[in-house]
Amino acid sequence: MREKNISLSSRHLLGLQGVPREDIQLLLDTATTFREVLERPIKKVPTLQGKTIVNLFYENSTRTRISFELAQKRLSADTVNFSTSTSSTKKGETFKDTVRNIEAMKVDMIVVRHESAGVPLYLTKISKANIINAGDGLHEHPTQGLLDMYSIREKLGTLEGLKVCIVGDIGHSRVALSNIHGLLTMGAKVSVCGPLTMIPVGIENLGVKIYTDINKAIAENDVLNVLRIQLERNAGQSIPSTREYHNYFGVTSERIEKNNKNILILHPGPINRGVEITSEVADGPYQVILDQVTNGVAIRMAVLYLLGTMH
């Protein structure tokens, strides 16, 4: 009768590569509903009552972990947090054993972040729970990709035909890869910009344009998604110094004013102020950085809802 039969085509969210357009559309549309819930005085709905979700974080995270946890609590799920520093991993327990033990306690969903690519996929083979990738190595970070797309769509109304450039350390970025796959599926024109040492060889095979001039990238695009220079992932080996990187590729208000005042600036955080982006831009009128964080909770609620109520 009134319900349309709409579900995601997979019971896990491992990445945005290969996710059909209808699924991404459904996730973005569902997130709009949850944005409304976040504006209420009581920011909680009973939808996932009785579902147990484990947040399995093998790598540090502020935004993503808090965002997932809030999303779970706002859907009334029961959540358990796991982080390596306080767990038996320190005692030498293997990943598989840890997961088997957690699974034995009857959990419905697992949100996983791990420094190795492919861990979420491996989890789907050893666990019956719904698996959500919260970032695996240099592979993907699908919920970040979704919230970036949601934020762009919220501001500009559509993704179809938009020109989006991802700036920075593309090779060390799972955010970049999720953005590229998702945006291409939704009909956007995607490019990357950065020193060639930071751009993976063969990335143009994905259908992505390469810029080496930041001024040109700003001038020719509608959206700039500025990535963090990840010094903890050895970004220092690709550039002589962060100062030199800033001089050549930093997003500054002078460059925006000169080339394209209408550009929309995104940054997945955490920000290295004065390196990839100046404070002026990061706090200025072109950016939606904190909107991205708010939208992140709505997107994660949508993912949890659509996977958690699936049969």
């Binding site: 319900e3 709409i6 509903t33 819930v37 009581i42 709905v45 009973p46 939808t47 049969h311």
Partner: protein, 181 residues
Amino acid sequence: MEIKAKIIDDEGLQRTVTRLTHEILEKNKGSKNLIIIGMRTRGEFLANRIHEKIKEIDNIDLNLGFLDVTLYRDDFRTRLKQPEVSITDITFDVTEKDIILIDDVLYTGRTVRAALDALMDLGRPNTIQLCVLVDRGHREMPIKADFVGKNIPTSINEEVKVKLKEIDGEDAVYLVDSSKV
């Protein structure tokens, strides 16, 4: 599905909506503290119409909102289909107000139960009054409507289909046999 009877026709439906509006105003002694909330999908259009009628009668533009109860349903675990969620659009405060909650058909009472929970999460209204176009019986919850367009005794194998111009192209209520597909 086989249509067994047309229970309310176009003209009848207009009259019913007019009567319901007058009943609401009579019981509440005017429209001063009222707000109108329609339940998606068809309650939304009925709410629009009642809101319009009150504007005609009392010359007042009441707050009008729309409620989607999908997130409050109790049948996520038992249904085979995953329902679509749409947006709840209630941008005003409901605290201390008299809410007229409007839906098309009252059946098991489970949707209304979900709506009550959803409304309580938005504030503490003074009263919540339920207005439905059709009450078809077979309640599974202790819920009763304050304003009823028409009581239609049905069997479980029957279904009541409300058609509204806004989405169905006509105004009518049909009784259909759902056992014959």
